[in-house]
């Protein structure tokens, strides 16, 4: 059986219970046209035909979705172009640097952590860090060799009452902060959505006043792996004594908001830290961070090994 036939039968299977009189040949013809002639990705082809059936034959979209995308765990996501649903907690939101992306970050369940992208054209309500949701009918995708899930127009995001547990695999890394990434230091966030403003502009709400915040996006390197970490105001204050208030004073004294970034660079770059947190791909979600110093006993261990 050809792929077109397989996919056609899958669609037929999904609408079986519904009282729909559509011929297999009709679906197959469209499927062949889309994937064999126009080389449309399979998931897009299925979606297009499904929409056609909803429109022309009164197929219930709700019912279709239920069957279309099985509820899976994050660890089961291994192949691109699968329609799935999952219950997960938003563990970290990042800045999106594309107007096409509404929100991007990491979600997790007890089996793992995965990157998610909510496309702007999906017109979804915004998700919040720390809250759990049912992500219905999302598409798996592979980007730079790593899996992610995409939320698009046919997806649905519903907040749920459960508190989804994250994987118990907390790791501890001692490494040096070797680089700060863009938009670190004293930043401004949009009052409406919390996104970081780039030159005073929120990518969704345009030019806004915004409020001040302190954060660092950094690269931690332990000689074996690199991790991207984000330090919030609490982490930064704990390490340097510079909280938001102090940062604003530094900016005011120097008539330059960048003075804060320079000060943080001087205090943190090239130093060693012990970081405890959850690992999701190359991201390490900081739960605790502290300065790390060696003890004499560690030196003795090495000398013993050399003896």
């Amino acid at each position: 059986m050809s792929r077109a036939e397989v996919l056609t039968d899958q669609i037929l299977e999904r609408i079986k219970g519904q009282d729909v009189r559509v011929k297999r040949e009709e679906i197959l013809k469209r499927m062949k046209l889309l994937i064999e002639e126009f080389k449309v990705p399979e998931s897009e082809a299925v979606r297009t035909i499904t929409s056609y059936l909803v429109r022309e034959y009164g197929v219930s979209r709700e019912e279709l979705m239920e069957r279309e995308s099985p509820l899976v765990r994050i660890s089961e996501i291994t192949k691109p172009n699968q329609w799935v649903s999952l219950k997960a907690k938003v563990v970290q939101l990042w800045d999106s640097n594309s107007p096409n992306v509404s929100q991007v970050g990491l979600i997790g369940d007890e089996t793992g952590i995965i990157k998610f992208v909510i496309w702007t054209r999906a017109e979804m309500p915004e998700v919040q860090e720390g809250r759990s949701y049912l992500f219905k009918n999302v598409v798996t995708d592979s980007f730079q060799g790593r899996m992610q899930v995409n939320v698009n127009r046919t997806s649905k995001i519903v907040e749920i009452d459960e508190d989804i547990e994250l994987p118990p695999r907390e790791i501890q890394v001692v490494g040096a902060i070797i680089s700060f990434q863009q938009n670190s230091g004293l930043i401004k966030r949009c009052g409406e959505c919390g996104r970081v403003l780039i030159k005073g502009v929120c990518q969704v709400h345009g030019k806004v006043e915004g409020y001040d915040d302190l954060r660092i996006k950094a690269v931690l390197d332990d000689g074996e792996s690199v991790y991207e970490i984000i330090l919030n105001e609490g982490n930064i204050a704990g390490l340097t004594g510079i909280d938001l208030q102090k940062a604003l004073e530094i900016a005011k004294e120097n008539l330059d908001r960048n003075a804060v970034l320079n000060e943080l660079r001087n205090r943190l770059l090239g130093r060693y830290f012990r970081v405890k947190g959850l690992r999701g791909g190359r991201y390490l979600l900081v739960e605790e961070i502290e300065h790390h110093k060696p003890s004499v006993s560690e030196f003795d261990h090495i000398l013993e090994a050399l003896a």
Binding site: A176, R265, N266, R271, H292, V296, D300
Partner: protein, 217 residues
Amino acid sequence: MIRRREVAKRVFAYELVRSTYQIEDESQPKYVLTPTGERANRIFSVAVLLDKEEIGADTNFWRLRLADPTGTFFATVGRFQPEALEVIGEINVPELIALVGKIRVFEGTSRKLVSIRPEMISAVDLSVRDYWVLETAKRTLERIKIMEERGNEDAELAWRVYNPDLEEYREMVRKAVTTVKEDVEVMERFEEEEEEIDFTGFELEEEEFDLTDLLEE
């Protein structure tokens, strides 16, 4: 396509300046192979900046001489490393610094030379140096073990290219660890004493209070 960020490897100066073999294959970025079989594109080091010299007047191109407990090495900073350049402009030598940089191998007059192109430079305190020595010692001993077992392709290649005397590299580690350990011992003792002083201070305060009472009488 965004490439995966290269890990900054830990290599002592003694080994670094002997790492003259560039791995010739299609892979990008380019790697050098160290005598104990490390494949490195970038390093992280904590060293004393002994000297900085501007090459030509107002070129803003600097040659740096650095030392860790095992030896010295060179680095060059120019306008393509703006962050490192800014720090170098302001720093006074000698100063202890942490640096991350790419390894470059070039032909000298009589032999191949190794130099670092720093991307990040930051003045740090001794405890950073101490941990770096410890970490670099551990990594080096791990590599020596793999060399002994001929445990991977890079180890095999290092044997063919350098045929290193591993005892020489063990000695390098021993030297670095021993030197720094003394400093760490002094620091730990100093910190213990500080704690004791705090405690004494607290007692004194109480005595002072008693004294005031006495004076009032």
